[in-house]
């Protein structure tokens, strides 16, 4: 593991009673990265975050965060991190301003600095007009935004975001992506979990997928999608049967299926490089093309490919 790894997890295991939620995972996160941790419900994401943030004791394995061992120097780890929890955890009877103030004091941020950051952050998450409102009177999205602002306040080395945009409208979600990028740009490493695949895709430098407490795959978003090798080209032509014959012999083509709505051509390599040749071939055979569509695998496809289709809310 290199010196620029800000999180190092080796053979991490965690059991609740006789149920093992995390079954020996290892991974590293590089300084300055946005790292996403994906997995179905109950996969063990929050459990892992709780161990990395010292809220659960380390049972087995080694975990270093920001250069400190979580078991040996939990205090140092706590100084280096910030967390936005999956659940809404706001004191209902404190105002927005007091919530921020309390957090800033917990981390011992000096008064002037605290005031400045609170002003800035409330403006960024557009809650400055709600400063004196009790948190119980905020909408769900406002609560999330407040918690994100709170997590950002301490300018941690590593920020853990456990499903930060759950239940937010698309505008708010995109704005939060912007903040996350901003904070990341200022040097904070981001550890993110999410069930929104396009979110992971857009934000992450690297992604790991966890299922049943085990890591199943890791890589960059593009790498993971390409590795599926399932780009599909949809073609509508004057004569699908002839077009199909014309396509034989292009070696990247894995299969061609005909349907009433046209041809689906599955390609084992990068489809965008193959597309021009497909079009040339069909045109060259004198067949007109009325519609072309290239569908690359999405993170959804990657996710379902590695974790299967069954529902995970039950059981594990």
């Amino acid at each position: 593991m290199g010196g620029d790894d800000i999180i190092e997890v080796r053979d991490l295991e965690h059991a609740f009673g006789n149920f093992t939620a995390v079954r020996g995972i290892s991974f590293t996160v590089k300084k300055g990265e946005i790292f996403s941790f994906l997995g179905p419900n109950g996969a063990g994401k929050s459990t892992t975050i709780n161990i990395l943030t010292t809220l659960l004791p380390l049972q087995k394995g080694t975990v270093r965060v920001a250069g400190y061992d979580v078991a040996r120097e939990p205090g140092k780890v706590r100084e280096a991190i910030g967390i936005v929890f999956q659940e809404d955890v706001l004191d209902r009877d404190l105002t927005v301003g007091e919530t921020m103030e309390f957090h800033g004091r917990l981390y011992g941020i000096p008064r002037e600095e605290r005031r400045r950051r609170i002003d800035d952050l409330l403006r960024i998450v557009e809650l400055d007009s709600k400063r004196d409102e009790r948190t119980k009177n905020l909408s769900g999205g406002m609560k999330r935004r407040l918690q994100i602002a709170r997590g950002l306040m301490t300018q941690p080395e590593v920020l853990f975001l456990d499903e930060p945009t759950q239940g937010l409208d698309p505008q708010t979600r995109m704005r939060i992506w912007d903040y996350i990028r901003q904070v990341n740009g200022a040097g904070t490493t981001i550890f993110l979990t999410t069930h929104y695949m396009e979110e992971a895709d857009m934000l992450s430098d690297r992604i790991s997928i966890i299922d049943h407490g085990r890591l199943v795959v890791s890589g960059t978003p593009a790498g993971l999608k390409n590795a599926l090798g399932e780009d599909v080209v949809y073609l509508e032509t004057e004569d699908d049967g002839k077009a199909r014959d014309a396509l034989s012999g292009i070696e990247e083509i894995r299969s061609v299926t005909e349907s009433p709505r046209g041809l689906s051509v599955t390609i084992s390599a990068d489809g965008s490089h193959c597309l021009p040749r497909i079009i040339e071939r069909v045109r060259g055979a004198g067949i007109g093309i009325s519609n072309v569509n290239l569908k690359k695998p999405t993170m959804d496809d990657v996710f379902v490919h590695y974790t299967g289709r069954e529902l995970r809310d039950t059981g594990a």
Binding site: V89, D91, D93, L94, F102, L106, Y107, G108
Partner: protein
Amino acid sequence: MAWGFLTVYWREMIRYVRFRTQLFSSLLQPALWMAFFGIAMSSNFDRFTSSIPAPAGVIPLDYLTFMAAGVIAMTTLFTSLFGGMSLLFDKNWGLMREMLASPMPRTHIMLGVSLSGMTKSFIQASIIMGFGLLLGVQFFPGYSAARIALSILGIFAFVGAFSLGFLLFSSTISMRLESPEGLQGIITLLTLPLFFVSNALYPIQAFPAFLQTLSIFNPLTHLVNGIRYFALGGDFFAVGARYTTSTVDVLGSFAYLAVFAAVMYLLARRTFERAVVT
């Protein structure tokens, strides 16, 4: 960072003044005890005991005056035992995680909560003393202003030490329990014996020997001793019995409460340092 507990204290006090009903009832409850129980019981006790003559030279005190110290003690006991409740809610609602994940030393959580519990007990004790004086409680008989001030400090020292011990106890229990009902059950179970095996409402001189012995180990007895010593003096006569308390006795009582608080502190610290929240 060494002042982290003030942050927790600040938040607890915001909550205290913000929960209007809680604030109101915590201020009203001791006054109601004084007004109803005190007046009702004093008419009875004073009738029974007026036939017993006070020894020459000792000031006889009426029952209301005698029990006012007990009401301060009892109120402090209740408030302190319930003081950990806010931690239980913090824990159940996930709010505790914010504090546990922060670099603030964990002992400061319990110190902040304890300090706020002590403040509440001081406020309540002041109300009881103020309201009691209105009802005719003869606290501080013939004291000079300076001695009254000193006596109030003495009472606060006792109330503070006692409430600290029970607040830490209550915090420890709260951190280990899942439900507020559980805490309530434990409090109910504890308050009855603590309260009745003490000298809060009646003299213990007439107790059977083993109850007398028990009452000596009861922190409430020592709190009441301290309050009476400072409020009524070292030698008075009430409810048919003479009370003489020397400086050494009072220091002994205070030491007992201090040791109790210290033991509770160690217990609470252990609990907090190991606390995990899921």
